[in-house]
């Protein structure tokens, strides 16, 4: 077990692309840190830099307090699980697991013992004499995990290890990975673009966008207190509705205007005094899909755009019904129970509690 630290890490490529911009992140001993973000955000790059597969352009990488910038991959005491598993096709499962140990020049007896132990732990004992092409996707994934674990490294790196599996298997293996990590307590950095994986697996989540770290913290904290509109919209399935609005006063009372909705929010001023500064300024407002309900008052007029039924609930896509319909209106989504049946094009009313509103500046930073 070890700590991992990214200190002012920069990475740019010869063509000028900046993959990472001043990344600062500390991963505690035994922690499962999930790096999440859209494709091209720099999450896989961070992992490859830490693995030593690519050199950093600036900053320091620390493993257990020691700078490893100049160390080749094999001397960083890390193991990596690749997205496509990268199992050696010509070797049996047994030889795949033994390969990293052979490189460490372990004795044959030791290697055999470790391979057996790892195979037992991962339920691979029956598959040891098979080759990767004779295995199912889930089994291959497990062998890849095994090859990483067998060395008992200080740090585990996982680069989207579940993305090649079907949805059902993904859920199952996700649980297995979480369980293994809890048992072994090996410091793990897990990269994914899937925010559900991030929420369920991570002790903490680091959200990246365009090479910059947006926010880091426990999943629930990020979900409930996003630092900016990007994090708010990225986490959650579907993510938070973000729409433009304007703060104004009506007979002295603070209200929010957006697409014909006038939402009284005077009572929020006590908890969010910062709002006053943005009076008559364009701001961004966020609402989680689950915040909407037809039963809550005051309710606001809306027009149903489309409906997705998920069995136990529905995702209702709608537009706020303004007095003057404009094409620029943004489609919002509400997560509702299945008790009512709306039709596309129908006029409905949806309410939410003002406390469930999130406020961001025009640039997307949260307003306290």
């Amino acid at each position: 077990m070890a700590t991992v630290e990214f200190l002012h890490i920069h990475k740019s490529y010869p063509d000028g692309t900046r993959a990472l911009n001043d990344l600062n992140l500390k991963v505690a001993e035994g922690e499962m840190m999930v790096l999440v973000g859209p494709s091209g955000c720099g999450k896989s790059t961070s992992l490859r830099l830490l693995a030593g597969l690519e050199p950093v352009s600036g900053g320091e990488l620390l493993i257990d307090g020691e700078c490893v910038n100049e160390r080749p991959p094999q001397h960083r005491d890390i193991a990596m699980v690749f997205q496509n598993y990268a199992l050696y096709p010509h070797m049996t499962v047994r030889r795949n697991l033994a390969f990293p140990l052979q490189m460490l020049k372990m004795t044959k007896a030791e290697i055999a013992k470790r391979v057996e132990e790892t195979a037992q732990l991962l339920g691979l004992a029956e598959l040891l004499e098979r080759r990767p092409r004779q295995l199912s996707g889930g089994q291959r994934q497990r062998v890849a995990m095994g090859r990483a674990m067998v060395r008992q490294p200080q740090v585990f790196l996982m680069d989207e290890p579940l993305s090649n599996l079907d949805a059902k298997l993904r859920t199952q293996i996700r649980a297995e990975i979480a369980d293994l990590q809890k048992r072994l307590r090996i410091t793990t950095i897990y990269v994914t673009h899937d925010q559900v994986e991030a929420m369920t697996l991570g002790d903490r989540i680091a959200v990246l966008n365009a090479g910059r770290l947006q926010q880091v913290g426990p999943p629930q904290e990020l979900y409930e207190q996003p630092a900016n509109a990007f994090v708010a919209a990225f986490l959650g399935n579907p993510g938070m509705n973000i729409f433009a609005a304007r703060l104004s006063r009506n007979s002295g009372m603070l209200q929010l205007e957006s697409d014909g909705w006038r939402i009284p929010i005077e009572q929020l001023l006590a908890s969010k005094p910062g709002l006053e500064e943005y009076l008559e300024h364009p701001i961004l407002v966020g609402l989680r899909p689950e915040a909407f309900s037809p039963e809550v008052t005051p309710a606001y007029p809306a027009i149903v755009v489309s409906i997705e039924s998920l069995g136990h609930e529905r995702l209702l896509y709608f537009r706020p019904a303004a007095t003057t319909p404009s094409t620029a209106q943004k489609t919002l989504v509400a997560r509702l129970s299945c008790t009512q049946a709306e039709a596309v094009g129908q006029n409905i009313r949806l309410g939410f509690k003002p406390e469930q509103l999130y406020f961001f500046t025009g640039e997307g930073e949260v307003i306290a």
Binding site: A51, P73, Q74, N84, A86, Y88, P89, L104
Partner: protein, 276 residues
């Protein structure tokens, strides 16, 4: 035309094409088995493919006129070395171009590609001077060394390696394998098709080499088969039966090599995206 009528026609045309390609070999085989006097007489009609008066006299004649075994062993040794050492050198070069990062890589690879269009005939004379200065004439070395590094082989290896998943090598690096070990334990075992096709292509081109051995060798002790067949033309009497018998024995090793590796060869041609 309906689809079902087209299929037999298609196969018929393939069959005819196949016969066309195999007919010279049939001509040679039949010619090698009949008395010399009949070879040219029957050359104009169907009997050309018919070994009337079946006998092995021509074969015995070949062994009586030249030291066939000596030439065969020379050819096998020279080609074996060119193919064997060539596979090692060219695959390593292809790997270095495909995967390793080093200064001047693009420039040098461009030069290698450029070399592909220069035929041996164009550089034969300066090359001859070079090997003469080095004192290598009339040796095995002079017939082997210039043909080991081969631009086309390097290019074939390059295209194959560049298509292999990079993660395999990265996994090996993290597991602790250096570049050479990665190459020999991870890359080579997963690149058998390209090794087979390069081996066969090299063998096929070098087996019939004539001009260069003729220029740089003079003694029977080191000369390959194609030079021996020439002696049948230069030494009277000109006996076509003997030449055919020699030809059959010279082609046989190629057929054996091809039949042995044909599965790999076809796969390699498909995998490297080239035509043989």
């Amino acid at each position: 035309m309906s689809r079902s009528a087209g299929v037999p026609l298609f196969y018929l045309s393939l069959l005819l094409l196949g016969l066309l390609f195999i007919s010279p070999i049939g001509f040679m085989l039949a010619g090698s088995l009949k008395p010399d006097a009949r070879v040219l007489v029957e050359a104009g009609d169907w009997r050309v493919f018919w070994p009337a008066g079946l006998s092995l006299d021509n074969y015995l004649d070949v062994f009586a006129r030249v030291d066939f075994v000596r030439y065969l062993l020379n050819s096998l040794f020279i080609n074996g070395m060119i193919v064997g050492v060539g596979l090692l050198v060219n695959s390593l070069a292809g790997y270095a171009f495909a995967r390793l990062q080093w200064r001047g890589r693009e420039l040098l690879f461009g030069l290698v590609l450029a070399v592909m269009i220069i035929p041996l005939e164009a550089i034969a004379v300066p090359l001859f001077y070079m090997v003469s200065l080095a004192g290598w004439r009339d040796t095995y070395l002079v017939q082997i060394l210039p043909f080991i590094a081969n631009a086309f082989s390097i290019y074939l290896f390059y295209t194959y390696f560049i298509g292999m998943p990079r993660e395999l090598e990265e996994a090996a690096r993290i597991d602790g394998a250096g570049p050479l070990r990665t190459f020999f334990t991870i890359i080579v075992p997963n690149a058998k098709p390209v090794f087979a096709s390069v081996a066969i292509l090299t063998f096929l081109t070098q087996w019939g080499a004539f001009l260069w051995p003729l220029m740089v060798t003079s003694s029977e002790a080191v000369r390959p088969l194609p030079l021996a067949i020439a002696t049948f033309h230069s030494l009277p009497p000109l006996q076509w039966g003997d030449i055919f018998a020699f030809g059959v024995m010279m082609v046989a090793p190629i057929l054996v090599v091809f039949l042995l590796f044909q599965r790999w060869f076809v796969r390699g041609v498909v995998a490297t995206g080239i035509k043989g």
